[in-house]
Symmetry: none
Subunit: 206 residues, 2 copies
DNA sequence: GGCGCCGTCCACCGATCGGTGGAGGGAAAG
DNA sequence: CTTTCCCTCCACCGATCGGTGGACGGCGCC
């Protein structure tokens, strides 16, 4: 049985979620909280495994409550929110939430989400992953095509290896390393290895 | 029934995964592929909903295959890999994979992962989410304190300027530039300008 | 006032790097 | 089968870089 704590300041929503969860054979609702402060207290008291957390709440909001609960350890938080665009979602993820679900999601999706989080996985809609990813890379549009070997050499350059080091690592001559590098410089339109690395990072090649 | 395509160049692994999946009542294995190219072809031909994809494969690796399959549309890719540290995981996510699982994961976790992905969710272990998040924010890291001047010099190095260039730009001697750089190397614990720049980027100093 | 840090500068060395201008072989594509 | 691309390798050059071991004045702090 997965021990779940439901946190939402809206009684109607809470009732709906609880009904949905108790219908599942492997899930048990061990408590309900109406705000963040109560959530923090109950999460520990009831030994919940998963906390289904609303974000917009009085007293202590979902992000803050998530941070405190996760800091406590052993409990995973799954955000249950109304709007996908809510910018608090990313904040909650950074605060340690294992994922988020939309209240509008089908029942099966919510149940699967709870099970996945209980199993240690993260539950994120592709759109949120996309936001994380897009923050991670600087837009990939016109990327010059490096050959596999060139990319390999460039990666080692980025790791701080010298040409002789790279030659040894790849079992090729230093001359060959330099040739690859010169080709990389051409394609990236740079004049030295350092700029090549920063350029490659800007382009999402590394 | 969730239509799944299993892709792995290792027959033993493939057999294990297939056995695991067919034991589930709601999952159907509609095909097996031994490399990326075959995977791309079969994903479309068998109308798979979820592709369980190994990363290290001959002919066409998992990342490239993922990109093509996702580009085709309608099919979700779930990476099934051996090592958590595999840096190709992030590449696969960026290529459009909906998540990843470890081959060492318990059966229930793998099944839950397939169901979650089929339901449109992403399946990522917290450690991977953490990597994405850490790429997304530049704050809250133990960063070595560079002096203003050192930071200035390092920024120009990152821009691809040579030491003489930097000296001219800052109206100081080349010797001074080198002194600053040596101090930067010390603080970042690196041995050359290139690694210093990548290090500084990792630490959010640039 | 002394101590420590910062920024500036110098001379000199060996190692590495960027760049030239080649060359050959293998694989894929036409 | 020819062309094209990729990977490999060589010799040689000047420029740049990493590193050493100093030096001096200024600033803030105890």
């Amino acid at each position: 049985m997965i021990r779940v704590l439901v946190v939402d300041d809206h009684p109607v929503v809470r009732a709906g979620v609880v009904a949905l969860l108790t219908a599942a054979a492997d899930i048990e609702v061990v408590g309900e909280a109406v705000d963040g402060r109560e959530a923090v207290a109950l999460a520990a008291e009831r030994r919940a495994e998963v906390v289904l957390m609303d974000l917009r709440m009085p007293v202590l909001d979902g992000v803050a409550a998530t941070a405190r609960i996760v800091a406590g350890g052993g409990v995973r938080v799954l955000v249950l929110t109304t709007y996908e665009e809510d910018d608090q979602i990313l904040a909650a993820i950074e605060a340690g939430a294992s994922g988020y679900l939309l209240k509008a999601a089908p029942a099966a999706e919510i149940l699967a989400g709870v099970r996945a989080v209980a199993a240690g996985q993260a539950v994120l809609a592709p759109s949120i992953v996309a936001q994380l990813v897009s923050r991670a890379r600087t837009e990939a549009v016109p990327r010059p095509a490096l050959t596999p070997r060139e990319g390999e050499v460039l990666a080692l350059v980025a790791a701080g290896l010298s040409n002789p080091d790279i030659a040894a690592r790849l079992f090729i001559g230093e001359a060959t390393v330099k040739t690859h590098l010169l080709h990389v410089f051409e394609k990236l339109e740079v004049r030295d290895r350092t700029r090549a690395v920063t350029r490659a990072m800007e382009l999402g090649l590394l």
